[in-house]
Every structure is written in C-alpha cells, then in structure tokens.
C-alpha cells in the first residue's frame, strides 16, 4: 500500500492543562498534556495535535513548555495550533519541538501570512485549519462558509475556494472542521470533506463529529480525507486507538498497525 491513513487524537490545552482531561487510561495526572501525549504515543496514534485555547497571549510560554516536554518524551509527529499569529509564534513552536503548526484566524484575516510562513519554514510544516459551516439552504447547491471565534462569527468566505487559495499560497495540509458537526457525534460532514479533498492536492484531515467507528471509515472512504482527527471519543475512552485502527483495517483501509496490541 502506498499510503496509510493517519489517526490523530487532538488535545485541547488551556493554561498548560488538558481541558476535561483524558480518562481512557490510569494517568497519574489526567490533566497533564504530556502524560496524555505519552499515553497516545504508546497506544499507537499516528500523530498528535495540541490546540492551545489559552485566552491570554501572555500565557503562550506555558504552551511552549508543554511542547518542549512532549517532544522530549514522544518521538512521533506533533502539530500545534491555537493563537498562532506571527512568524515568530511559528518559529517558537517549531524550535520547541512541534513538527507542524496550524494557523486558523490569522490566515483568515491575512491570507499572505500563509505565504510568509511557508516561505520561511517550508510548506510541509504549515497547516491551515478551516472551521466551516454549511450555509446553503436545502435544495441549493452545497456551499460552506468559514466561521471564526469558535463558529460564532461568519466571514462570508467560501470554504472550498479558501482552501484552494491557502494551498496555492503554501499550506501543506488542511485541517478541516465542520462546525455543524463538531460535538454532535453524528459523523463528519462528508460532502464538505469530499469537496475540499477534491479541490486541493495536499492532505486533508477530517475533524468534527465522530461518534462511531464507521464514522472514521466514512471520513476516508467517502470524504476523501487522508487523516482523521478526533478528541472526545478518545479522551473519554469510547474507543481506543487500537479499536479504531482495527475497525478501519477490517473495512479495507490502509492502516499502520505498529504498536497495536490485543
């Protein structure tokens, strides 16, 4: 097989602590992102994503420290996003040990930032995170718009056209979250995922809405994603990484089974 689907747990981190905690294993400190990262590393995750939701930019150093400590303990790919606004933010995260940095609002506000970041650090480490909501009415052709501020603020920007634009500027990967599906456990927005995956030559990671094992399969088989990201189903122990991988493999998808036991 020529490529393996990536299974990516995402940890929301606030002030250096995991929001809600990770409950699937007996961690000494369920709120420590480094402990959680080590558990996912051991469980056979293909990458990790940290999303820094710290409100104040004064506390960014805490995140750099979390990334540094994670990179010392986990020898696997790490993407960090949340509040990335400047080339200096990106440099600090990469130097701390992140492999990729995801840019969200800053790219919406200033498209050229994506180009500057990619020129400086290479396309391969620049992820653009897109939060999209369906805005077409029933019966109309599918249309999705970018929303910022956790899905509260519409921008009027077409999500598919925006994906094409940021990839043209140098984004090496798209992290695509359906704000309609996020937290609903009703599955990825497959039409959205397919529309973006077909529009860009770079990898697309599907996010938002996973509730069942089949949802993971659908994101790849129907949505055309090359990776699937989930948070709560992993943190709450609904599924282990191994269960997801075995299910996807049984469905005929190419999966890396290194480190998956039992």
């Amino acid at each position: 097989m020529t490529f393996k689907v990536r299974i990516i747990p995402c940890l929301d981190v606030k002030d250096g602590r995991v929001v809600k905690g990770v409950q699937f294993v007996d961690l000494i400190d369920a709120g420590d992102p480094v402990e959680a990262a080590k558990a996912y590393d051991a469980a056979g995750a293909d990458e990790l994503t940290f999303l820094d939701i710290t409100a104040s930019s004064d506390d960014r150093r805490t995140m750099f420290d979390v990334v540094t400590r994670t990179a010392e303990a986990c020898f696997m790919p790490l993407t960090v996003g949340g509040g990335v606004r400047t080339v200096e933010d990106i440099r600090a995260l990469l130097v701390s040990g992140a492999d990729k940095v995801s840019i969200n609002t800053a790219a919406v506000n200033d498209r050229a930032f994506v180009g500057r970041a990619a020129d400086k650090f290479g396309n391969q480490c620049i992820v653009v995170a897109i939060d999209a909501k369906r805005v077409s009415a029933a019966g109309e052709a599918d249309r999705w718009e970018i929303f910022t501020h956790g899905g509260r603020k519409p921008t009027g920007i077409d999500a598919v056209a925006y994906a094409r634009e940021v990839v043209g500027l140098g984004a090496g990967e798209i992290l695509l979250t359906s704000m309609d599906r996020d937290g609903t456990k009703s599955g990825f927005d497959l039409a959205l995922t397919r529309a973006v995956a077909d529009a860009v030559p770079v990898p697309v990671i599907a996010s938002g809405g996973v509730g069942t094992l089949d949802h993971f399969v659908d994101g790849v088989a129907q949505g055309g994603a090359t990776g699937v990201l989930a948070a709560s189903v992993f943190h709450f122990g609904t599924f282990t990484i191994g269960e997801v991988k075995r299910h996807m493999q049984a469905a005929g998808l190419p999966i890396r089974m290194d480190g998956i036991t039992g």
């Binding site: 393996k4 290479g122 090496g172 290194d258």
Partner: protein, 216 residues
C-alpha cells in the same frame, strides 16, 4: 565519544537531540549530545548528525552561512570517516544537486539529484506526509534488528522531494508512494534517511541507537 548535531538554523534540533540522548542512555553509551553551530566542535565530534527541514536551497544557504561549517563537515566525514547521519533535507544535502525551485549544488557526497516525487496515482497527495514501510535493498548495521518490508515497522515521512538518478549501491531502502521513493541511502561512513527517525517511534529510535553504536 561525542555526537554533534549541526545547528544551522534549520528545523527541529530539539527532537533529534532528545532522541539521541534517550538511545545513548538505553544502549548504555556515555555519549554527550551537542547541538552546535561551531565548526571546531563538529570537527572534534566522533559522530555527526545533520538535520534539515524546509527547502533544499534554503538549507544549503543556511549551512553555507555558518563560516567554516561545510569545510569542517567535509573534513570530518569525507576526510576522516566520522560516522554521519543526514535526516530529511540533511540527507538531501549529501547529493550532487537539488532541483527544488532553482538548481542548487549540494555537498556532492553521493551522486544524484533531489527531484520532485511523482506518484503514478494522481490521487496521492503531495507533500507525502505519513507512515510507510521500508523495502531494504541490503543489510546495514543501522537497520540491525529492525523489522522492515511490507509487514515491518513504519517510518514517518514529510517531504515532496527525494533522491533520484543516484548509483544503485547508494540506495539502502525505498518506500512505495505510488512510485519508488528513496527512503535511505548509505555509502562509506555515511547514512541518510528521507524520513524522520526522531519522529518514527520504535523504528526511528532503534535506528538512532544503531547509528550511535555503528563502527564502520
């Protein structure tokens, strides 16, 4: 004994350093791991690691921008046969030239060009970002004890370019990404990995441990 990780303003030196330190500890080796931009430290080191991320031309310019570094590397690796590990663009720099954007001269330690990967299947995404198994063409001490082949362990790749048009005896391992991708090279006291061993969990850590123990 010491390991020098060459710091020329490119990439994730922290992970490479921590991976080397961890494997030195696990293998019971007393090896200080130094991240350095000082050519004399590179000259004195017993082993050298050259990382690199980003564009070929930028990395070459970064390396050339450290006065005396290319001379120190060439003397230590090609002159005195110090074991050398190039990672990602650090491996690509070993080649004759890079064809990314403009044509840029490499170090010329192995023949070949760094050219775009061209998967036969247009649905395959570029950059190639993810995990692949290794098809190894011959035995090598840095691969000792590592399960390879289609049922073996996976290595983590993030790249759009790879080594082509090289000598057959340079290629140590390939990956299949819709076409043959050069995954590892080896010649004399040098090895290079297109993938990131410092991000490849068990496979990568074992490889780094083997490199630290390698006595070519």
């Amino acid at each position: 004994m010491s390991v020098a990780i060459v710091d020329y303003g490119s990439g994730n030196l922290h992970s490479a350093q921590k991976a080397c330190e961890r494997m030195a500890r696990e293998r019971g080796l007393n090896v200080p791991v130094l991240v350095t931009a000082d050519p004399d430290s590179v000259r004195r080191a017993d082993r050298i690691v050259l990382p690199g991320v980003g564009a070929f031309a930028d990395c070459k310019a970064g390396l050339a921008g450290v006065p005396g570094m290319i001379e120190a590397l060439t003397e230590a690796v090609r002159g005195r046969g110090r074991p050398f590990l190039g990672i990602c663009v650090g491996m690509q720099l070993m080649a004759g030239r890079g064809l990314e954007k403009d044509t840029t001269a490499g170090l010329g330690w192995v023949p070949g060009d760094i050219d775009l990967i061209r998967p036969a299947d247009p649905a395959l995404k570029i950059p190639h970002m993810g995990w692949n198994t290794l098809n190894v063409t011959r035995d090598h001490p840095v691969l000792a004890g590592i399960p390879t082949g289609p049922d073996g362990l996976h290595a983590y790749f993030v790249h759009s370019y790879h080594l082509t048009a090289t000598a057959d005896d340079v290629v140590l391992a390939e990956a299949d990404y819709g076409s043959r991708v050069t995954a590892m090279i080896a010649r004399d006291t040098m090895v290079g990995t297109q993938f990131h061993p410092e991000k490849s969990q068990t496979l990568g850590l074992s490889l780094i441990g083997n490199f630290l123990e390698w006595r070519p």
